[in-house]
């Protein structure tokens, strides 16, 4: 990790620590908890789509699998939420392995269609397997996490719990991206045939990063289940997969910072737009359209490039005035 990333990481940690105090309003702290949970999924998606160049329209399903596994085990079977979380991670990882092994042989649109179909199948199971999932009306009374005797009941404590995990995953992903494996992943995106000839086992890495990103979604699902304490299939439809994809695209595909920024914009923007009542969707759509038209590489890289241009042009201007003065 370069020095720039280190500073940015320190700033991010500071913001995460202070934000709840600055906001105060418990409702908004709750929104920030969702932001953290979604960020876990989008960081994984960013590694898969932005860095490795493999698309997935099935991540809402992995998110749902994690949530339902953790929720059902802790509610119906009285398991500790912690064990539920571990089970959620392993189950989503296992399912991703079984789905990914054949599906990742496909490329581009075909991979998108395969993962889309997977997402739809899981969504139907959530709806139809009523004995287990409660069907369309879902099920509730999912217990919260507790550490020792201390329950993570308040949004405030849950915020720090979730964001602690997010910061850890974020740092881990930054390290991964700037490593031997990160370079291998990026080489797959740029030219798969060249990557293979440079000694990168592309099919193995594609599967590994797919499983990794799915387990992150599973983990996020478990955190979600024990936060909202009520699950119904609506939250895990294919539409949510597309929203996740939009978050990654808005922030900037090939940048983990972009994953968090994009998630933040798409989670927080609707809250602010409530003031516009009926027009909120219209404004929301226009903002997204504007970002994609004017900053197609995403907000983070786009703004970075604009700043760089500004700085270099003022630098050139100063130089010119200096030489003119001479």
């Amino acid at each position: 990790m370069g020095r720039k990333n280190l500073y940015a990481m320190v700033v991010l940690t500071g913001v995460v620590l202070l934000l709840p105090y600055l906001i105060g309003n418990p409702y908004y702290v709750g929104v920030l908890v969702f932001l953290g949970i979604y960020s876990l999924i989008t960081i994984g998606l960013c590694l898969l789509i932005g860095y490795t160049g493999q698309i997935s329209l099935g991540h809402a399903a992995f998110f749902g699998l994690g949530a339902y596994t953790s929720g059902i085990l802790s509610t119906r079977f009285g398991l500790s939420p912690w064990l539920g979380m571990v089970a959620a991670i392993f189950l989503t990882g296992g399912v991703a392995f079984v789905i990914g092994a054949p599906a990742l042989k496909l490329k581009g649109h075909y991979l998108a269609m395969a993962t889309l179909a997977f997402g739809e199948i899981i969504y139907i199971i959530f709806n139809q397997w009523i004995a287990c999932t409660g069907g369309p009306s879902g099920f509730g009374e999912i217990p919260r996490f507790s550490i020792g005797g201390f329950s993570l009941e308040s949004d405030f404590s849950y915020y720090y719990f979730v964001w602690g995990i997010v910061l850890f995953v974020f740092l881990a992903s930054l390290n991964l991206v700037h490593s031997r494996i990160g370079r291998a992943l990026r080489s797959i995106r740029d030219s798969e045939v060249a990557a293979r000839c440079m000694g990168v086992n592309t099919s193995s890495y594609k599967l590994k990063i797919f499983v990794f990103s799915a387990t992150l979604a599973g983990l996020a699902g478990s955190l979600y289940a024990h936060f909202v304490t009520f699950l119904s299939p609506g939250s895990f439809s294919v539409m949510f997969s597309i929203i996740l994809l939009t978050m990654v695209a808005v922030g900037g595909m090939a940048n983990i910072w972009g994953a968090i920024i994009g998630t933040a914009i798409l989670t927080i923007l609707p809250e602010y737009l409530r003031a516009f009542e009926d027009y909120d969707i219209l404004i929301y759509g226009s903002v997204l359209l504007g970002i994609m038209i004017f900053l197609p590489e995403g907000l983070v890289i786009g703004i970075f490039n604009i700043l760089k241009e500004k700085i270099s042009s003022t630098g050139a201007l100063e130089e010119r005035t200096l030489t003119a003065g001479k």
């Binding site: 881990a172 390290n175 991964l176 490593s179 031997r180 494996i181 990160g182 370079r183 291998a184 990026r186 080489s187 995106r189 740029d190 030219s191 045939v193 060249a194 990557a195 293979r196 000839c197 440079m198 000694g199 990168v200 086992n201 592309t202 590994k208 990794f212 090939a254």
Partner: protein, 252 residues
């Protein structure tokens, strides 16, 4: 002495089209050999079979007395064969340095755990990768461009990045697919010199090329291919005087 690479009875069909029929040739250690022939003769297909992108329909490829025609590209790279591509395949979203660092993949081993937690072993390995990549950029004369992206380089420089990246895999045999296509005379001469310097490192070079001056200049032996068959093999002088070759190139 057993040759470094030995090809026997190589045949490749695509659907009904026979691209290669019964190719035999071999290449010694620390040697420069060229494959020439008109377009569509099957030169690149041979490269794709040696590097594992295609499986042959029939025939064998041995490298250092091991059969490699049933291995995948990354397994073949790990055994010591590397290549460049006719239509340059640099990684455009990585710096020049990182491009070359990818080449070090086959002889490094840090897994997910050590990459995520930056274990001491990983940091040590990363240093070795960095110094190897820098040394190779120096070798091809691109060390000043290390932080740039390939898209801001000239075509010639992109070719050099590809060669440095291929050398980073520590090959004993380097396959160069038309390394001077699209380069000007001066660049072509410099590429010829580079190919000779690669041989001086103890690496064998197998070259596919249309530029006859370069081929005659650098190669010790030439294989001539026409419609999927070897029609001549020998030293540059022998090839220049071979009637079949003259007929193929100049028309009868």
């Amino acid at each position: 002495m057993e040759p470094l690479l030995r090809i026997r009875g190589l045949r490749k069909e695509f659907g009904g089209i026979v691209a290669l029929q019964g190719i035999d040739f071999s290449i010694k250690s620390n040697y420069i050999k060229a494959i020439i022939g008109p377009n569509g003769a099957g030169k690149t297909t041979i490269f794709n079979i040696i590097s594992g992108i295609y499986f042959p329909s029939k025939g064998y490829v041995w490298f250092k007395e091991e059969r490699i025609d049933n291995l995948t590209p990354h397994e073949i790279t790990a055994r010591g064969i590397s290549r460049t591509f006719q239509n340059v395949q640099v990684f455009n979203n990585m710096s020049v340095l990182e491009n070359v660092m990818v080449g070090c993949h086959s002889w490094t081993e840090s897994g997910f755990f050590s990459c995520i937690f930056k274990t001491r072993k990983n940091r040590k390995e990363e240093k070795r990768i960095y110094s190897k990549a820098m040394q190779l950029l120096e070798f091809v004369g691109l060390s000043e461009k290390k932080s740039l992206f390939p898209s801001s380089l000239t075509f010639h420089q992109q070719r050099l990045v590809e060669i440095a990246r291929a050398l980073a895999t520590d090959p004993e045999l380097l396959l160069l697919d038309e390394p001077v296509a699209g380069l000007n005379t001066k660049e072509t001469i410099r590429m010829g010199e580079l190919i000779c310097r690669i041989k001086e490192r103890g690496i064998s070079v197998l070259l596919v090329e249309h530029d006859m001056d370069l081929v005659m200049d650098v190669s010790q032996e030439i294989v001539v291919l026409n419609s999927g068959k070897v029609i001549a093999e020998g030293t540059p002088r022998e090839i220049q005087n071979d009637e079949k070759v003259i007929a193929t190139y100049l028309g009868e």
